[in-house]
Symmetry: C2
């Protein structure tokens, strides 16, 4: 039985959220009843639950075939020789990134063991995935390591602060102005070290970029719209970690690639489980190329995208 309610309200917030979530979702109690048990106001319970859902502490898991009920998952695995796949139902009016981010987070949390190392790349879906996973890292002692430079900029916003989470980031921009500088940075001991570490991770998480002037790469100022146009003419259909490839997944020979500080595609392929999170009609070509180039072997996407991928491939 619960002791003095006052004492309980002093407890860690995570603890409170956990208790509230248990009583709410597993016991089916009302927020009022929980409020009484925990010695807080009803509205507080409502907010605790909201926070738990937002932060990813409370996760919904669907226990059906392969963990999501859509047949397409199996089809994707078979068609592209993947290790696993997740397909979320399409909801036309909702932004795709947070939705597949959640699915990717769920998949990774299921697969990662304590003390594992997770290598992360670039992109919106990657960022949201990390946000949902953030509360789990410190507790299961999972470390993350970046696959590219330029990650530090946005990682701060995801709730992964400082070294207590064992985050090893490459402390360079994603792209630098000269080939020489890029090479100097790559052989700089600390950078070298992180790059090597990334290549030895057991799990990776990457986004897939489309070749559009609206791409995240452009929005963040790493590429100009003119360059994108040029790459497109050279046959580029998408990029992974800043490396552009054609429809067959062959990495193009671009100047840009010599200016990038990131794990090379060949090393990325050495990571045994690489999950790519991407969805949307404008990414179809990019995803197809990525899959053909075997840059990832786990795909997290949405229903419409999966349908289209299978149609094009078949």
């Amino acid at each position: 039985m619960y002791q003095d309610p006052a004492e309980l309200s002093d407890l860690d917030e995570t603890e409170q959220i956990t208790r509230a979530a248990w009583h709410y979702y597993n016991d089916g109690l009302t927020q009022n009843q929980i409020a009484d048990m925990l010695g807080v106001s009803r509205i507080k319970v409502s907010r605790l639950l909201e926070k738990g859902r937002q932060s990813g502490l409370i996760e919904l898991r669907i226990n059906s075939s392969y963990g999501g009920c859509l047949i397409q998952q199996k089809e994707l695995v078979e068609a592209f020789g993947l290790v696993d796949a997740r397909v979320v139902p399409t909801a036309p009016d909702l932004p795709a990134a947070p939705r597949i981010g959640r699915a990717a987070a769920s998949l990774l949390m299921q697969k990662l063991d304590p003390n594992d190392l997770l290598a992360i790349g670039w992109g919106e879906a990657t960022t949201t995935t990390l946000r949902y996973m953030a509360p789990v890292f410190p507790q299961s002692n999972i470390s993350i390591v970046s696959l590219t430079g330029g990650v530090s900029a946005y990682i701060g916003t995801t709730g992964l602060y400082g070294p207590q989470n064992n985050a090893h980031l490459i402390p360079t921009p994603l792209r630098v102005s000269s080939e020489d500088l890029a090479e100097m940075l790559r052989v700089e001991p600390y950078v070298r070290n992180v790059l090597d570490m990334a290549a030895t991770a057991r799990f990776g998480l990457i986004g897939v970029g489309a070749v559009t002037s609206a791409a995240t790469l452009v929005r963040y100022g790493y590429c100009s719209a003119a360059e994108i146009e040029l790459f497109k003419r050279r046959g580029a259909v998408g990029d992974v970690l800043g490396y552009f490839y054609d429809a067959d997944g062959e990495i193009l020979d671009l100047d840009l690639h010599r200016h990038v500080v990131a794990v090379r595609p060949d090393d990325l392929r050495k990571i045994p489980n690489v999950a790519a999170a991407a969805a949307g009609p404008h990414k179809i070509d990019a995803i197809l190329g990525m899959l053909r180039g075997k840059l990832a072997n786990i795909l997290v996407t949405d229903e419409d995208t999966a349908t289209e991928l299978l149609r094009r491939h078949g």
Copy 2:
């Protein structure tokens, strides 16, 4: 050959539940919006969600340390040399069995791999655990095997029907009237076969019986209240699979044990992961003895019980 319509509509419903659950819990849509998307009535969505939660298809997982936030889990693991532990918050007015059943189901679903074999014992908590896991079995192709006779009687009520779920049950009562008959049954090829299979499972799930005249063993008519009284005088504090043990976990030398058709304690200990689900003040002694006798190495219990176990042990 044509499809089984029941199976088809089942799949259909699973799909609907999955979609509804995604939109509801992950996308934060209202039931009305989901109803419009799926083309069903709002109330139908409400019922789909309810069904999903009830059946265990929708699981709310709490992602904090070890999957439940209580420090006691770690303390239990350390104090008793366990592999893992789950502690659920106590709710004085709610029956304990379904609550720890849910937690045990969550734990097992996390640990079991596809094609695994799960050996199950006796008891209320075991039953509810199985009910929550039922929808997962066919899809991840997990087989179950019983550790004792007398299981068939109640297994039918949990939704695990027939052989399509790879359920291998010992087709005998738990207890028979003579030593000879018990021995004959044990060496009967099919029974022998199931007993051997159970002993080779990678995971086990058992309940822990208290030595009370209100015990499940008595309620189901396997023991008389008088026998219980006798066992108690002989030093019994609890039972596992129908075998009674004393406070140190030593199996007693009772006539009853020679009349029981069940995997023997020594073989139970050979299963690398045995989860025991039990809670309540009247079970403290039984659980303590069970832990000391190393009959299980994973414990699922509630907060009050954990506190008391640690206090008594420390």
